[in-house]
Subunit: 234 residues, 2 copies
Amino acid sequence: MTTGAALADLAALLADRTRAQFCLALLDGRAWTAGELAALAGVAPSTASEHLGRLVAGGLLVERRQGRHRYVQLAAPEVAQLLEDLGAHAAPRGAEPVGLRAVATTAALAWGRTCYDHLAGRLGVAITSALGERGLLDLTGGFALTTDGMAWFRAELGFVPVPSRRPVARACLDWTERRSHLAGQAGAHLRSRMQHNGWIAGRGDGRAVRLTPSGTRALSDLLGVTLPTAATPT
Amino acid sequence: MTTGAALADLAALLADRTRAQFCLALLDGRAWTAGELAALAGVAPSTASEHLGRLVAGGLLVERRQGRHRYVQLAAPEVAQLLEDLGAHAAPRGAEPVGLRAVATTAALAWGRTCYDHLAGRLGVAITSALGERGLLDLTGGFALTTDGMAWFRAELGFVPVPSRRPVARACLDWTERRSHLAGQAGAHLRSRMQHNGWIAGRGDGRAVRLTPSGTRALSDLLGVTLPTAATPT
DNA sequence: CCCTCGGTTCGGCGGCCGCCGAAACGTCGG
DNA sequence: CCGACGTTTCGGCGGCCGCCGAACCGAGGG
């Protein structure tokens, strides 16, 4: 069975500030080099190297060596989900952001961000509840695409679910909104499509996301959602 | 935002074998005394006391002082979910049970067990898939009770969802079956009802559960599920 | 072919953390 | 009122772990 030791070993991987910082950064879904992560966390390259070794050995990350670079990435969507779940529990306990820059960053993240491969923040929650109001997503009995919803996703976004252990629709608890937003295959497809269509655009280097003018129009047309184009610049 | 530090602090709570063992034991949903947990983990009472202090301070556990006893319990269903999710990730990595007693225990747990407040193991998965086959639970688009399912739960089990942040139906990944079983309000109600009706009974002291003869009959009548009455005694 | 640069390995240092035993505290029972 | 018992507090001990710098390795680039 799941002995305490196995659980403790897994938790120990995330129980270090530097490693946790790495994982949080990797939540943007991209592959980072060892050096980038070291600089981000403010530790020596050697230290970062050791941490990455442990995270990879523990199965949380996968690596791809390319020339003299070592790219690492979250091993699977499930890992991202686990990190978000942990984050949702960790957030409530105080820890207000300090300093102007931190506040601005936090505000941008709260407005909209990618959560590994789908959308979160006010943006993600607004889309999710709009899907619910239109009867495309069942929010009352759980979290599932209705037959209407399945048809809508196919017609409007060209989405066809692939058979997989990954659920089509899944609730992901939002740590800023304290409400669930759409994750799973459908959530990932929605984000990738919106990005591809230029409806959303990254805001600087982080996970923050803003809505473009065409995105504002598209959401209004498709779902009747009225959201302002990016309040803050860049 | 969720800084790495907050996440690391939370993970650190579970990064110790003894604390992890405590939490796993508490997954049965009952309240344990400090002494019981100390004996279970094989540590001195003083050590257990310190661990419990940290777990309570971290918000994972709540305590209730009664006379000279200190009862602790998981703070919320969300905590149980988090632990199960972590367990699901931790399990895959090797760690076969060793010894006859351990094997027997593991087998009993794999057959059926409570997962905080709902059913898991082969029993939980079988019920879940039966609900799906009968069109009561939508498994294709996510995890939600259909309107038929909502009616069935009310008629057969007297279940009415209460307005709450807790989802009515939720998928909980099973670490033995590698498939999802029903959790959330509906899952919890189902288990409590089955227990109340004497359809299931605890197997010894742990979380393991067996199906009683009347339970076998009931499941067959209600859902057409044919499961043997407890294969192993007690 | 050498130089640069990203990454790794290794030794060593410092601090944190889990453990225990001893002593103290409060509750319960007789 | 006294003894038993569950729990807590406090030192103190040992080990693990995260950190760094220095040396090393290998891939590119000029």
